[in-house]
């Protein structure tokens, strides 16, 4: 049997005490222990980007991140991205542009775009495409995702 460790994770601004296997990924812990199922398991291989979260403000593949390695770094998931609002500007833009189809990739795109606009509020098309190059979408052909992002350039994330 794998050994387990107690840990405290700071997720979406709140501390969570839990016990997790040393082999558990951040994705496992978010989905199972914390019941934050918005973060998706698409490939479990670090390719599709559906499991993307912010770790200390930077993009991280939660399927490739061991929970025990997270330490005190704050984690933000799609559930925490809009703070006290119903939707963050990124979420609202994706909804309004019709950029959400099956929706399974959407949490990853929300996180990736949030990170981009926090860093580059006036990101242009090429920066947007580069920032989303780690996220796969099988439904949309990406066009409306780019349109949503372009509608945000200049707005606060």
């Amino acid at each position: 049997m794998t050994s387990k460790l107690p840990m405290t994770l700071n997720v979406n601004g709140e501390p969570h005490d839990l016990i997790a296997a040393t082999t558990a990924t951040l994705l496992d812990v978010l989905r199972s222990s914390l019941e934050l199922t918005g973060t998706k398991r698409g490939c479990n291989h670090g390719v599709c980007g559906a499991c993307t979260v912010l770790l200390d403000g930077k993009l991280a593949r939660s399927c490739l991140t061991l929970a025990v390695d997270v330490g005190e770094r704050p984690v933000t998931t799609v559930e925490g991205i809009s703070g006290n609002e119903a939707f963050s500007p990124v979420q609202q833009a994706l909804i309004d542009a019709g950029a959400i189809q099956c929706g399974f990739c959407t949490p990853g795109f929300v996180i990736a775009l949030s990170e981009l606009f926090a860093r580059e509020p006036h990101a242009g098309r090429e920066q947007i495409r580069a920032a989303l190059s780690g996220n796969l979408c099988r439904c949309s052909g990406y066009v409306k995702i780019i349109e949503a992002a372009e509608s945000l350039a200049g707005a606060a994330p």
Partner: protein, 761 residues
């Protein structure tokens, strides 16, 4: 009022915030986890399966192997499959046994502890190996299998069929110009971002409830009941949110395993596939070999086309006979060709089953056929657009096989993409790249089988809509609500849409065949109209006037024409519930009712369909850059025109077109499932199997939605889910040829293949 508008998708907020519930998000109290034992052999006899050690492990609650199955075989059109292998395995990855245990780790250790003894058999891994003299026969009991369509199978041929019109042999003899070639296409995986899976539960009486990511709750219910030997009423299936389908969640194969384990353990069981398992045990698009000979007169009039199609069906037939029939029916292309013949067969091979996938045989047929139209144009010295316009089908023509075509905007689609490309500011040339422009046209259908809708008036005058149509991401929830709301002049917020549940949803065959907006949309429109008629009768009685004097007013009221006086839907609802008439509701169900094929001829030719649907049309124009040093192809811009009949939600139409086109780019350039000489699939992760990312796709994909209302639909709509994928590969192949003179005849058109084609010029 709501048709033609673009309200945000009903569930978009849930999807954007992570609230939407997909199958792997479901956890039930006491839930067990399933693990699978799969075959390491492409072809082998199962000598025995020892489960004692696994059964004795603490935490193991149920095991199923082929020895437990007693009923007949199951499957699609040919009942050649069983939920776990019995007696023989026919592909690497085929499920041999399954375990349910208290956690994933225990389940997977127990699966490893199951010992299966095999006697390996020679395998047939390709069309050629399967058809060779002395080839190992995959299904020695083929003759005994139940077939829902009589098949004409023999040896490793699972099915054959044909379509013929006119006299092809004679017409070809009289042609001025003839072109003839063979094309090969690959196995493409659907790669829905959410892998397939389900959660099965069971009550004290043994009734099963399944939560499934799927394209039809009714199909799964039927299949699970059949495989478990239960009355259909004792299996309930509910759809979760679906993380993409594309045809890959169209037919069931894993649900019965979870249901069986849950029934045996009397506890809930989750079976969600890993990405690798999903690659290995679900489905692919059929690899195909297609030979076509097309003949024309000097003036460009196409007079004959002769086609042979061989589909590699993999180890089990699944939907193959229907895919074959559809490939044949689409192989003439959307042209007036008086003499056409298409003959085809599906071949069993020791690989993963091929099944339904967006386009359903049409992408293969159109890649070959539309590539050949360009070859014919070149030989005639004609412009590729002109030859297509000259031979294009027109309204009231007849499709190949004999179905009547009513609305047809093919020529408009083609001229629109040509003109849009011509008017777009040219992109700057890039050094070392050759630029080319390519075209492809296509037809498809929208229809098939049965569906239904029910509409009920609620106590405050808002409305509840229910259908069995599962939204797999294409937007049918919103579109069906728009149709319902429009017919009642209500804002969409006042119409609810019920999740799909076989206990309460009206029957729907499947989310497939580009049929939801057309078929279920028709049912919704008719049921809503019936509710409106009933409300008008109430209003007439309430206002003491004839129904003919009444009109619907926006926002939920009925008034007398020319008079401000109204009664509200709420007043009508209250009257119906408490005073007179009873609850107002309507149910409308139907089966696709187009004229279809001559039934005798369809049976003789083994067409697997009585009728298909209404025909839809489209055209693509692409610009590509080809690097002649490396063979790399980049799609720079695309214009995709498609006929929506009437666009209920134009933004969703555009999303379908753009998304389908990009899935078509993957099919054209990068995606291929590959097997090694032992029959092992080698492309089992997203690192091995390349789907287009954002940098692999053109930022400009111009979706052009044409609207020519179809008379058979109350609001004129037709489906557009599939055709957008169909034109991508031939348009790209034609653009590569336009740029370089090289003709790639094998998909995907990888840099290596493009270099080979460049060398062969």
């Amino acid at each position: 009022m709501t048709i033609g508008l673009n309200p945000p998708r009903l569930e978009a907020g849930d999807k954007a915030t992570g609230r939407a519930r997909y199958v792997d998000d479901i956890e039930l109290p006491g839930m067990l986890y399933a693990a699978l034992v799969t075959s390491p052999h492409a072809h082998a006899r199962i000598i025995g399966c020892r489960v004692d050690a696994a059964r004795a492990m603490p935490g193991v609650k149920a095991i199923v192997t082929g020895d437990d199955l007693k009923g007949p075989r199951s499957g699609g059109i040919i009942k050649d499959e069983s939920m776990v292998a019995r007696g023989r395995v026919r592909y690497v990855g085929e499920i041999v046994a399954a375990v349910a245990a208290v956690d994933r780790e225990t389940a997977s250790r127990a699966a490893e502890a199951i010992e299966v003894a095999y006697e390996p058999l020679p395998a047939a891994l390709s069309i050629d190996q399967a058809l060779a003299a002395g080839a190992p026969i995959l299904h020695e009991d083929y003759a005994s299998y139940v077939k829902t369509v009589p098949g004409g199978g023999h040896d490793n041929t699972a099915f054959d069929s044909s379509v013929e019109e006119g006299d092809v042999e004679r017409a070809l003899r009289e042609c001025d110009v003839i072109v003839e070639s063979t094309w090969e296409t690959q196995a493409q995986h659907h790669l829905y971002l959410e892998t397939n899976g389900c959660v099965a539960d069971v009550d004290a009486a043994g009734r099963i409830t399944l939560h499934a990511t799927c394209q039809s709750v009714h199909h799964i219910q039927q299949r699970v009941a059949e495989e478990l030997g239960e009355p259909t009423a004792r299996v309930r299936v509910l759809a979760t949110r679906v993380g993409g389908g594309f045809g890959g969640k169209h037919a069931s194969n894993i649900h019965s395993i979870a249901a069986w384990l849950a029934r045996a353990a009397r506890r809930p069981v989750k079976l969600v596939l890993s990405r690798t398992q999903d690659f290995e045990i679900q489905r692919s698009r059929h690899p195909a070999r297609i030979w076509i000979k097309t003949g024309a007169r000097r003036d460009g009039t196409i007079v004959a086309r002769d086609v042979r199609v061989i589909l590699d069906g993999g180890a089990y037939a699944d939907e193959s006979p229907a895919v074959l029939a559809f490939a044949l029916l689409m192989s003439r292309g959307p042209y007036r060709i008086p003499n056409a013949r298409a003959r085809g067969q599906v071949v069993y091979t020791n690989k993963l089953r091929a099944g339904s996938f967006r386009g359903f045989g049409n992408p293969q047929a159109s890649f070959a056929g539309e590539s050949q139209i360009d070859e014919l144009a070149a030989k005639l010295g004609m412009d590729p657009v002109e030859i297509r316009l000259k031979n294009a089908m027109r309204p009231n023509d007849t499709a190949f096989g004999g179905e009547a075509v009513r609305s047809c905007v093919l020529t408009e689609c083609l001229t629109r993409v040509r003109d849009a490309q011509g008017q777009a500011p040219p992109l700057k040339p890039r050094s070392g790249r050759k630029r080319g422009v390519g075209y492809a046209v296509m037809s498809h259908v929208s229809g098939l089988m049965g569906t239904a809708a029910s509409v009920s008036l609620l106590s405050d005058g808002s409305v509840a809509l229910a259908t069995g149509c599962v939204d797999i991401g294409q937007g049918s929830d919103t579109i069906l609500v728009q149709i319902c709301a429009d017919a009642l002049k209500l804002p969409i917020e006042r119409v609810s849409y019920a999740p799909q549940d076989t206990d309460s949803s009206p029957y729907n065959w499947k989310t497939a065949g580009s049929r939801s907006t057309y078929m279920t949309g028709r049912a919704v429109a008719v049921a809503t109209t019936e509710v409106r008629e009933k409300m008008l009768e109430h209003a007439g009685e309430m206002m003491e006037c004839g129904v003919a004097d009444l009109e619907l007013r926006p926002g939920g009221a009925i008034g007398i024409k020319g008079v401000p006086k109204t009664v509200s839907f709420k007043e009508i609802a209250m009257r119906s519930l408490y005073r007179a008439g009873g609850p107002i509701a309507a149910h409308h169900g139907f089966v696709f009712d187009g004229p279809g094929f001559d039934p005798k001829r369809a049976a003789i030719n083994r067409l697997a369909f009585a009728n298909l649907g209404v025909y839809t049309f489209g055209a693509h124009c692409v610009e590509v850059d080809v690097d002649e040093a490396t063979g790399a192809v980049e799609v720079r811009r695309a214009w995709c025109a498609h006929d929506a009949g009437r666009a209920i939600n134009p933004v969703s139409c555009e999303g379908q077109i753009q998304g389908g086109f990009v899935q078509g780019i993957g099919y054209a350039l990068t995606e291929a499932m590959q097997w090694n000489d032992e029959g092992w699939l080698t492309t089992v992760t997203l690192a091995d199997y390349k789907v287009p990312g954002i940098l692999d796709t053109p930022p400009e994909i111009h979706a052009i939605v044409l609207e020519d209302p179809d008379p058979s639909h109350p609001v004129g709509a037709k489906g557009i889910g599939e055709p957008s994928l169909v034109g991508a590969a031939p348009a790209i192949a034609n653009a590569i040829h336009n740029a370089t003179g090289a003709r790639a005849r094998t998909l995907p058109m990888t840099p290596e293949r493009v270099l080979d084609a460049l060398d062969a010029r």
